[in-house]
């Protein structure tokens, strides 16, 4: 192992240990874990009842000698929808908090300029912090996925198969990219603000816009969402009528889609939902088709994470080292 890798790993280990010691982070993690666990457990209980009903129907149909039996409409992975939504909202706040704590800790103890005075480059510091945060997120996401899978198997009575396991693993990787992007945002805002707490408020403001406001605007502008029960239904239009009317709204739909595209949260949500069978239209297709269909979302997730990591590297590189000691 060369010197540079060793330094990066030292920083990453320090980041991980410090994060585990933070009470604020532990409280937020506990909220996420409890909310996710309850959401999956409730879904799994309901699923077990539906699965039993389907099994009873299939047994009755087989007993009557029917050869054509309707396939199960149930999708076990879709029960993880709540888990992904909590990662999308609360997970992003945890990531921002981790980024904030990572920088503010060093600022409070005035060790950030000291660190930079060591043979440690800005890139090494940024990479080490990023890897430490990634290790925290991996622990969190893997634990969430494991709780979900075990709950589905034991309570829902339906264990996922290897193909579903692979898709779940890809959704988890997307979650890591998503959380990493917010970690970088929290760290950059804190490092740039005069007072770290103000950096946290600014990062939370951006979170509010990206995670809650932009997707909400996209949903609200949906033509069918204009009336309770659906505008097209209120006008007595069937699916063909709806499609015919929407051909006159291509520009409008483009603007609406553009607003949603600006939200990193929406890209994560689309990809995770496609991988976990949440959207019915994706269920009949295989992995390669799904990856091709969501390539745009994958690209945006990588782009956001990469740009924000470069921003973090640039911000930390610009931190002035202590040359002559003193309190300045």
């Amino acid at each position: 192992m060369n010197e540079s890798t060793n330094r990066i790993l030292q920083v990453a280990r320090h980041e991980y240990r410090a994060a585990v010691r933070s009470r604020a982070l532990i409280v937020l993690l506990a909220i996420l874990v409890v909310a996710t666990a309850v959401s999956v457990l409730v879904g799994a209980t309901d699923y077990a009842a539906q699965l039993a009903e389907y099994d009873a129907y299939r047994a009755a149909a087989q007993a009557q000698g029917l050869t054509r039996i309707a396939p199960s409409p149930l999708a076990v992975l879709s029960l993880l929808r709540g888990a992904f939504e909590y990662l999308e909202i609360i997970g992003a706040i945890i990531a921002i908090t981790l980024g904030y704590l990572s920088v503010s800790r060093e600022r409070v103890s005035r060790t950030l300029p000291l660190l930079r005075s060591r043979p440690l480059t800005g890139t090494e510091l940024a990479t080490g912090s990023f890897l430490g945060a990634l290790a925290i997120f991996t622990t969190l996401v893997a634990a969430t996925a494991a709780v979900g899978v075990v709950a589905l198997g034991t309570i829902g009575h339906d264990w996922i198969n290897p193909a579903q396991g692979l898709r779940l693993a890809l959704a988890c990787v997307a979650a890591l990219l998503y959380l990493s992007a917010f970690y970088c945002l929290g760290a950059i805002a804190t490092a740039k603000a005069k007072m770290p707490a103000n950096g946290l408020v600014i990062a939370l403001g951006i979170w509010l816009l990206v995670v809650l406001v932009l997707p909400q605007i996209g949903d609200t502008l949906d033509a069918d969402n204009q009336l309770p029960g659906g505008l097209f239904q209120a006008l007595g239009l069937n699916h063909d009528g709806e499609v015919a009317v929407l051909t006159h709204f291509t520009g409008y739909e483009r603007v609406r889609t553009g607003i949603e595209e600006a939200s990193l949260a929406k890209h994560f949500e689309r990809f995770a939902f496609a991988m976990s069978d949440v959207k019915e239209r994706y269920r009949p297709y295989g992995l390669s088709w799904l990856l091709n269909e969501t390539r745009n979302d994958i690209g945006w997730l990588f782009a956001y994470a990469a740009v924000l990591f470069l921003g973090l590297r640039r911000t930390l590189t610009r931190q002035q080292p202590i040359h002559n000691g003193g309190n300045s």
Partner: protein
Amino acid sequence: MIGTIASQQGLLLRRQRVALVGLGTMLAVTAMAGVLGWSSHHTIVRVFDQAVRLQAAAGQPAPPNPFLLKPSLSLLSNMVVYIPLIGALLALVVGHLSMVEDQSKGMGRLLFTRQVTRTQYALGKIVASTRFLAVTLTGCGLVSLVALLVVNRTLSPSDLGRLTGFYVLSWAYLVVFVLVGMLTALLTRRRSLALLSAIGVWLVITFVVPQFTSGLRPTQSLNPLTEPVGTSQAFFRVTQHAQSLSIVEQYKTAAGTILGTSPNSPTTETVLTIVPIVTAGFVLLVLVLWRIQRHDYARSASDE
């Protein structure tokens, strides 16, 4: 003395950029809700025109006028989402700032050498913060009024009353979060921990509790039109008894009734939905007044 502390705190809030940014954000969000409402109106008109042509070409009768199904104040339905999301966060920050500034600058120690009781001090801070929110929401109300006049052309006295009622309800809801921000600042010495704890409370109230009591997924809280969720499971049959404790749901229900965007319910039912919000505010007020008596102002809070 309460008035003096409130005036001084009001001055501080005007000087603090974070609070002013919050005020600007709320006004911008209200204007955005107006634009979205106008867009919704415009979209319905265009879809209706297209539907009429389509039905006429197929030899079918014209569809019913959708505006008969759309309440006159539906333009504000996005505000029912934005107040618990953005407004509540602003209220948390305002409550938080009103307490932590004096702690971190050591003003608390100095202040209590004067003839001012801790109750007067806390009440002065609460008056200033809630007054700041009232000013913010009055601004939002005026923006909404302009948006309604632009889109609907007219506004009946009844609608004006409903608009006022909605913003008074929103103010009461936001006061709860001002008090949460203050209480967390009194419970912890570190600024960041206080703010993050307050945000944790907001997350639980806004996203977690509705999932437990009504089966509402987190992203469903973002849409003004939510489909009813099946809550026939034994779990929800138990938890829905606690629905009245979910103040965000109570707020949305009461706001929908006041604005006329959800089915009309008797006045007594609407009042009952407001009771948990008022009770939460009262309990938090008592907790803040109790906590401030025990707060150790001799120890300066950490700036971080």
